[in-house]
Symmetry: C2
Subunit: 886 residues, 2 copies
């Protein structure tokens, strides 16, 4: 620890730099940096975070020597500015700002206009030539000091202000004149004394020390502590304090203030973009009362200032090698930069800026890959509500952002209606309590889906993401019954228009304009760089270093989409969705109600060629890449009809009475279907089902291979909990596969593996691996069972859990690395303890979530698999994981 | 490996002994042992198991040297017996029997009467003076040899026998005379030649070698392999072959055969107990065609033989130090013991024999503890269907043996009816598809419970075991609808009598006599010895070596019962059952439907004194021991009414409309309630519920302590999956507890801990332990989640899994040590890595299951907790675990 506790900056020099973020905080370090590279910043000094630590260790007292050091720096500042704190002629006023090494936006305290007292108010009036401004600043300072430093209520101050306006019969603060404000200031002093038991401190140095200890103290206020806990910000020792001379943009027509971006934050184009207002304070630009002007106006009106700003823009961008978001103030003709930071931008802009900067030679490709967040990339692929329109409308409800993108349409309440209406050329939004596999057709037809129950991995959410259809799920404020949707008492009927934003979870009344996504020319280049980076993946101990991106796709169409997005194979092809198609559901149901094995086999024989055709389409679309097909997983009761007419028809087909069929359907009912008769348990009790599926897969593979295709079928057995299950089913599958190969005379390389989605399978993965060519972690179910959460029922408590910080994230959205992650790690390690080169992937919803992708990379998985629309995101996340873990 | 492959026994000598079971097999070793201690056994020799291994390794050929060694022993046997194999005057006949180190009853082959041929048949007729007997033995031998050694069908033989009887116009085998049998024997030879392609071997030595290789081969027949797999018999190398001279009990009135026990196997009394028949073969005693006589008749009729037998009895019991089950044959006045083994016995007998033998100085107390199996001990506590009556009736269906003991009564189909009918003085059996918490009253009233669905840990099973009520669960053959129970087409109506055996899972039609259990005077002594043994528990690394037995009890009555059975505290007191009592359910429902927190608190305030009273009763009954109370666990929808009238009443009470209430009830519905809003998740969303419960617990504890009692309340928070949940709820509970203690002025030592029943809690137990004073593994839920099995739905596949050997045991009955056990071990170790002396117990159903108790002991748990009626079993199992792991 150095003895130096205070660092000065100003006048083109600085004792600190951007590298000293730990010691000076982010804001402080940037001010030092800008100052030292010649950007005009208001001078000031920074008290270090280390001092904050000492302050706490010394029972909230300043360390010896600090006072002297600060006073020296204050004098230096006064000298540089040619002003003195509290001076009645030309007072120095300062801001006292917090600033830790990581940003805690709005969590800690700031005091402005410090130094104000009965003398300084006159001085400020004198210097600014604006007496009213000076008194207004004084009375605001008293309130802020009382609130922030002394922790009193601001209510009496607000009350006094209201009373003053009422007495004068005016409504706006601006209608109060200088004498009103001077009088109010006196009242404020009285209020202050009453609230704190002491007179308002006229000594600016005392003000400064009080403010400094308040800022230090705010490091440990509850909201800051909570914020750090929730955001997992650890290892920081405290906040720095920045004491910076005040500059004012509202000192007349040669003063002003504005914000600007070094490039267009919406499009990324290299144009200087910004807004400003003359004779105004910072908040005026944001508040929207006056309409700000564009920078081109400034170029016309004050070309010198504009040129200065343009120079700063160039300097800062070159220095930080990224697009900058700057705040500036012009005080009586002098430009000051108050802050610079890397500018927030849209997804499209992020990509364009990154690609342009590579072309400009500013950054290299790897750096570019770090410049776009996965969230930004995601934006590029989805329709968005026109931002202007969104600004003007308030959401009527908010649910889970279950599938990104926005959609507007007329409300329908059943899947059948959705299909009907769309046939009639209408755009519809399907609104339901929850969806079920039977609704697939309608879900496909709808522009978007809104459900009142269910979580991030409810049926609606999973299917919508798979289809790329916008979806808001688990929107509890929405009640659905009898074809009426009620939100806070207001009813929405069939045919009414609503709009949803699946990226935010918002629901709006009425039809809002939705902008279709425009994929930029730069996107492909950018994504190709992520692949280059990903190809450098390196994990110790792995024979095959490749970190692949596959997709979860069940149709040739989705497969094609995913491949266009860069998928290198299918990690999860769910076979059950296929059974819901018109031509198959009948035979499948016939199979379910069959009285014995031979009747089941008869029904399955009808399904075989249809399944085979499905697989052929998928193999063709994924030619040259592996395709992992999961055998039947859901419980049979998901397939049986619920409606009387369908039941009658099925009974006839199955040659049984309606009562017998109903009894059969009833017998399939389960109290906890998630933990019931499904997955490989069905394969064990009805081996003929899996036999048919394996036959269809292998016949399809042989046919496509015969036609010149390159196929790598991988048969995946779901829900294995014991190695015995896998052994039996693997033997069966091997037998069928060998038979098909021998009958077809076509060699086909195939693999047989299993999903690891039951905790016990992970715990006994060493045994399971003996019978598996590959593992694929089904982290949806693994999460359900490791936590004991039903993804369909978590709505009643999970949102609160996340809000209260009991859980950092919804574990169905972001893999719980601490708990579920242990099972993934254990499963991988134990599996490879048996088979060193066991191929291990993930096909749960987490396969496209950036944090989870990084975890999979670190854990040594060979690939991740995700919905087609998330493939680009996974590519980016994977590349970033490679860079981060080099 | 020694060179010796054949061991001789006979004439009071033997080359082997009982210690050589691995080499000579169990049967062989015992024959050697008996021979060497002077018990008269028919002489013979044993070919070793090692030879069997060589036989397999040499591609099913005999090792060099074996032939010579066997022939030498055969000559020695012929010399000793004064007979020769195949001799036309006085032939030696032998049996060739399998016998491995562990018993595989009936799984391997045996050949009798070997040595029979065209000469020997004459010799046997000559020696026995019974020509018909000789021919009958010959034709039987041909058939047996053909079947066992050559593996042909026995059908043609049976067919020829039927034809012979038909030709003669008789019905019974015994009506065929000597010449008929001689003719039949010729026919048999023809059949043999046709079936095997070779003439029937006249060379007795060839017969012997053929039979020997058949017996060796039977080691690997499918049923033997399956039996070993299912019974987890590992590490054996093969079967021995015993070649033993035949003796006959059917050679006239000075011959006979019988079975006897050295003590009464039903009661354990020290009386010589057995049955015999003169002039009969072994199977005649068992077959029941002739009525056997008791041993006392033998004492009268053949006092010399009886005395010999009595001497053998004394000798063998003294030698083996256990009650013996012996088979004997008298051949023309000479006694031979064919087999001795430790006798099977009833539970009552096992205890009496063990205690008596200690008193007789034969064994010590520790040995006695190993002499009673937990299953035998269990029998002692439950009513049993009169065995005679059971022999005469066939079960109409078989379900799971969910709660032991038998019960007979009239069928009722609702819990309310059960209560009504019992009030009218009737005995009823409650028959339901499944039970729910609302049925508690009726379940209590019924003699027994029968459900058609659900597994070993379904609601019915768990509650029945807790109450000690016999229960057959998951009886799939039973269909229940509209107050009719249908079994294979036959209908049983309300009021019809049925009888169930909850120890076996059988269901009988009609009212069968049920014998109430009679606890013997010896039981208490025996159990006190188990406690002595248990007190010597020693596990490395544990500070507190005590291995305690607690109980799961929810009422003062159950607590009292358990304490009488030796429970040392309560490991699980479920608070929710209390809410179903008439006086509480109303307020509890009022709480559920309350619109806001204050309305909930109002309803809870009514419950507080009632819960407190419950706890006071339990604390008093468990005075001096710890009582672990689990806070509310089940989801709220289990408590809401289903019937219209009750819904109306509740709506009125809650001040809402029926529609509003129905909507509320509907909103509580969950797709997978097992994984839903329950346990501590309720505690987080409705902290006032747990606050009330903790207040009731602590107030009760303070009140009982004030009245002079000694209370150790332990508050247990269920379903924790993250340490954050526990931290929040623990802090709340601590606050309430401290307040109650301070308000009451009564010091109460209390603990706050958690159940580990969510896999994630076990995985993160190091963090969870920071906030827990104790862990209690809830292995029911842990099993559900680790396997992904819903205990209510496993009926559709679990029975098949166990039958097929996919699972060794039903994991809800016997803890899955391999998978779930890892979580228990991990949870314990990680928990103790944070808190070295963390108290860890188990309160799932497995706490009373002997194998699981041993696992808990080995894993270092501090106690197990089980239903009151299983406490003695747990005491025994714990003691046996201590002995086994010394």
């Amino acid at each position: 620890m150095s003895d130096k506790r205070v660092y000065f900056f100003g006048n083109g020099k600085a004792e600190g730099s951007a590298k000293m973020k730990q010691l000076l905080g982010g804001k402080g370090a940037n001010l030092h940096e800008m100052s030292s590279i010649g950007v005009p910043v208001p001078p000031g000094f920074t008290i270090t975070t280390e001092t904050c630590r000492e302050f706490f260790e010394n029972d909230n007292t300043y360390p010896a020597g600090l006072e002297k050091e600060v006073m020296e720096h204050l004098e230096r500042l006064e000298k540089l500015m040619g002003k003195k704190l509290g001076d009645a002629k030309d007072p120095l006023l300062v801001s006292v700002r917090s600033g830790a090494a990581e940003s805690l936006p709005g969590m800690m305290d700031t005091v402005l206009n410090l130094g104000m007292n009965d003398d300084a108010v006159k001085g400020l009036a004198n210097v600014s030539g604006n007496e009213r401004f000076a008194w207004d600043a004084y009375r605001r300072f008293i309130q802020m000091f009382s609130d922030v430093v002394k922790g009193t209520s601001i209510e009496p101050y607000e009350h006094a202000l209201e009373a003053a306006k009422k007495a004068k019969g005016v409504e706006e603060d601006t209608d109060l004149d200088t004498s009103d404000l001077a009088k109010l200031t006196e009242e404020y002093k009285t209020i202050y004394q009453k609230a704190t038991g002491e007179p308002f401190p006229q000594d600016p140095v005392k003000q400064m020390w009080d403010a400094t200890s308040a800022v230090f103290g705010s490091w440990n206020n509850p909201k800051a502590v909570t914020y750090r806990r929730i955001n997992d910000i650890k290892g920081l020792i405290g906040t720095a304090v920045n004491i910076v001379s005040m500059v004012y943009g509202n000192l007349g027509d040669d003063s002003g203030t504005g914000v600007c971006f070094s490039r267009d934050p919406s499009t990324g184009e290299k144009v200087f973009y910004g807004e400003y207002l003359m004779n105004a304070q910072g908040e005026d630009v944001v508040a929207g009362i006056r309409t700000p002007k564009t920078l081109s106006t400034l170029a016309d009106q004050s070309p010198e200032i504009y040129q200065q700003l343009e120079d700063v823009r160039a300097k800062l961008e070159a220095h930080y090698q990224d697009m900058q978001d700057m705040e500036f103030t012009i005080q009586q003709g002098s430009l000051y930069i108050l802050q610079t930071r890397n500018g927030k931008r849209t997804g499209a802009a992020a990509i364009k800026v990154a690609v342009d900067m590579v072309d400009e030679g500013v950054i290299d490709e790897e750096k570019a890959v770090t410049r776009v967040t996965p969230q930004q990339l995601d934006q590029v692929f989805h329709p968005m509500i026109d931002p202007l329109s969104k600004k003007k409308n308030k959401a009527i409800a908010k649910g889970l952002n279950a599938s990104p993108g926005s959609a507007a349409g007329q409300i329908v309440f059943t899947a059948d209606d959705a299909e009907e209406w769309v046939k009639d050329g209408k755009k519809v939004l399907l609104v339901r309590r929850e969806t079920s596999p039977e609704d697939i057709g309608g879900m496909h037809a709808a522009e978007g889906i809104l459900t009142s129950t269910g979580g991030m991995t409810s049926h609606a959410a999973v299917v919508a993401r798979g289809m790329g259809t916008p979806c808001v799920a688990g929107c509890k404020a929405v009640e659905v019954s009898n074809k009426v949707m009620t939100v806070e008492g207001k009813q929405y009927k069939e045919g009414d228009f609503i709009t949803i934003d699946g990226s935010t979870g918002e629901v709006f009344s009425g039809e809002m304009p939705v902008i279709e996504p425009k994929v930029s020319a730069e996107l492909d280049r950018f994504l190709s760089w992520t692949d280059k980076v990903r190809a450098t993946a390196k994990r110790p101990g792995l024979t095959d270093q490749k970190f692949g991106i596959r997709t979860n796709a069940d149709t040739p169409h989705d497969t094609k989409v995913a491949r266009d997005y860069g998928a290198e194979g299918i990690g999860l092809c769910r076979t059950e969705h296929m059974f819901f198609e018109e031509d198959k559901i009948r035979s499948f149901r016939e199979m379910i109600v069959a009285e014995d094995k031979s009747a089941r086999e008869k029904a399955l024989a009808k399904l075989l060629p249809l399944q085979q055709k499905d697989f052929e389409g998928i193999f063709k679309a994924m030619d040259g890449f592996p395709v992992t097909v999961r055998l039947l997983d859901p419980p049979l009761h998901e397939f049986v009809p619920q409606e009387e007419a369908q039941i009658k028809e099925l009974a006839k087909l199955g040659g049984i009475t309606v009562d017998q069929l109903k009894a059969k359907i009833d017998s399939l009912h389960e109290l906890n279907p998630m933990l019931g008769h499904r997955g490989c348990r069905l394969g064990i009790t009805y081996p003929e089902i899996y036999d048919m599926q394996v036959e269809a897969i292998m016949k399809a593979a042989a046919a496509v291979a015969k036609a010149g295709g390159t196929v790598y079928p991988e048969v995946m057995i779901p829900l294995v909990g014991t190695y015995q299950e896998l052994k039996i089913l693997r033997d069966n599958a091997d037998e069928v596969a060998r038979r098909v190969i021998s009958e077809s005379g076509q060699k086909v390389e195939y693999k047989i593996g299993t999903m690891i989605e039951i905790p016990r399978a992970a715990l006994t993965a060493d045994e399971v691996a003996e019978h598996a060519d590959f593992f694929s972690f089904g982290t949806n179910d693994l999460t359900q069972m490791a936590f004991g959460y039903s993804r369909d029922d978590v709505g009643s408590f999970l949102p609160q859990y996340v809000e209260d910080g009991i859980l950092e994230y919804d574990p169905f959205a972001v893999l719980d690395q601490e708990g579920v992650g242990q099972l993934v790690k254990m499963g991988t390690e134990k599996g490879r303890s048996t088979k060193k080169d066991l191929k291990v992937g993930i096909c749960g919803e987490h396969g496209g979530e950036p944090k989870s992708v990084e975890f999979c990379y670190r854990t040594g998985l060979n690939y991740v698999s995700c919905s087609p629309f998330r493939v680009p995101i996974a590519r980016l996340a994977a590349a970033q994981a490679v860079l981060k873990n080099r």
